[in-house]
Symmetry: C2
DNA sequence: GAAAAAGGTGAAAGTATTTTCAGGTTTTTC
DNA sequence: GAAAAACCTGAAAATACTTTCACCTTTTTC
């Protein structure tokens, strides 16, 4: 059983990725092209795939589609292509997430953790994410906190969900903006600050002394149970 | 392999349920109490559980919790209890949905289909639901239709998702109101009509002649691919 | 085929959400 | 411990979403 298979032709990039993923606690294998990747998948159990779309040989989209149809694995696409329709194609062919190159390694790690958790964490299923005193229900954009139901707005919900999916890890502010507002939004950093405030007002007992959404000076925020 | 296990002490109710579920194409077993239910689950493969909270013997919440923790099965709670905190408890203990008695059988069938599909349909995973030319991404409340990305509002998204999860079946208007707006909202029927219109304006090529969201006179609407 | 019922449309009013900004506070740096 | 940087707060403006309503069109009923 390998946690993550990286399908990427540039050895240097693949090895850097492998290095960071291992430091984050995942076991990791590399396949240098689509054929090797599919071959490895046919013979070994793997839990999540990182796939570079621009591969020599077999078309990346085809690999994506086969991984989805034949193994139904959580799959993140990495790609330098700027064409926006590629993202849509990738999602349609079975990818769960799409990260544009050049990507920030912290962003990638945060996304991997979020996707991994959504699939394998026993506390997360059917759109319901449980963490400590929190139960997030994505269907109704509600949070149950200590038996009390709160209604969050869309942005608040996504912010909280992303922080919880990366609980215990500090998430940089630009990565949060990226994850919740999208890479090409031009939101002010203050927008994030304000939403963090709304969230704290809703979920912290004493929002002046937050226990869950903790500020990490100069970096970003961290969720603690 | 049984599709659905009904854990319900009133034989009459259980049999009626079984009857309707079978007509809807699911194989179905009945357990008359929590112990029997857990025993059956320990020995047979089951894909979804319908559980009455008010059982003789073992507490319904405990059964709920064990089914979640030990088998991690999709689980719908049926209950006559009106206490709102019960719903929250049930979700926290691992239920995926909660239906209040007295329930409408069509509502129940629609919810079962939606939950079943979310878990087992190969075209639905990781918050991404694929159906024909449609790719719904619940994370961003977006729909990709013929390669074009549309942004839906929350109500539009939920309406479309529920219709697609029940594709091919006519869904009554009151059940749609129930599913999207909640049982105890007092929305006018016209609210639904208007949202159907917004949706059609977004996803239909010719919204005067809808091909996907079809009106079924006197009943409700049906999604067709 | 007229009347009744059901559904569709467009606009307006009411809410809610999101963003921005100015000024305040806390933390870090030197 | 003063200055700078980072962060927080509250209010206002802008935007988006939801609901309702009056009137119109289509379908069904008799």
């Amino acid at each position: 059983m390998t946690d993550i298979l990286i399908i990427e032709d540039t050895a240097e990039i693949a090895e850097t990725l492998q290095d960071f993923l291992r430091r984050d606690g995942y076991t990791c294998e590399i396949a240098g092209n689509g054929e090797d990747g599919l071959a490895w998948l046919a013979q070994h159990k793997v839990r999540l795939v990182l796939l570079d779309l621009m591969l020599p040989g077999v078309d990346g989209f085809q690999v994506c589609n086969r991984i989805h149809r034949e193994m139904n694995l959580p799959l993140i696409i990495l790609s330098a292509r700027i064409d926006k329709s590629d993202k849509l194609d990738a999602l349609q062919l079975g990818a769960d997430d799409y990260i544009e190159k050049p990507y920030d390694i912290d962003l990638l790690l945060a996304r991997v953790r979020a996707l991994y958790r959504r699939h394998y964490d026993e506390t997360a299923r059917g759109g319901i994410l449980t963490e400590g005193e929190f139960v997030l229900d994505s269907a109704g954009r509600t949070v149950i906190h200590r038996g009390k139901q709160l209604t969050l707005t869309m942005k608040e919900y996504e912010l909280l969900a992303f922080l919880i999916e990366n609980k215990g890890k500090v998430i940089r502010k630009d990565i949060l903006l990226d994850a919740v507002w999208g890479r090409d939004s031009f939101s002010e950093p203050s927008t994030l600050t304000v939403h963090i405030k709304w969230l704290r007002d809703k979920i912290e007992k004493d929002s002046k002394n937050p226990k869950h959404i903790v500020t990490v000076w100069g970096v970003g925020y961290k969720f603690e149970v």
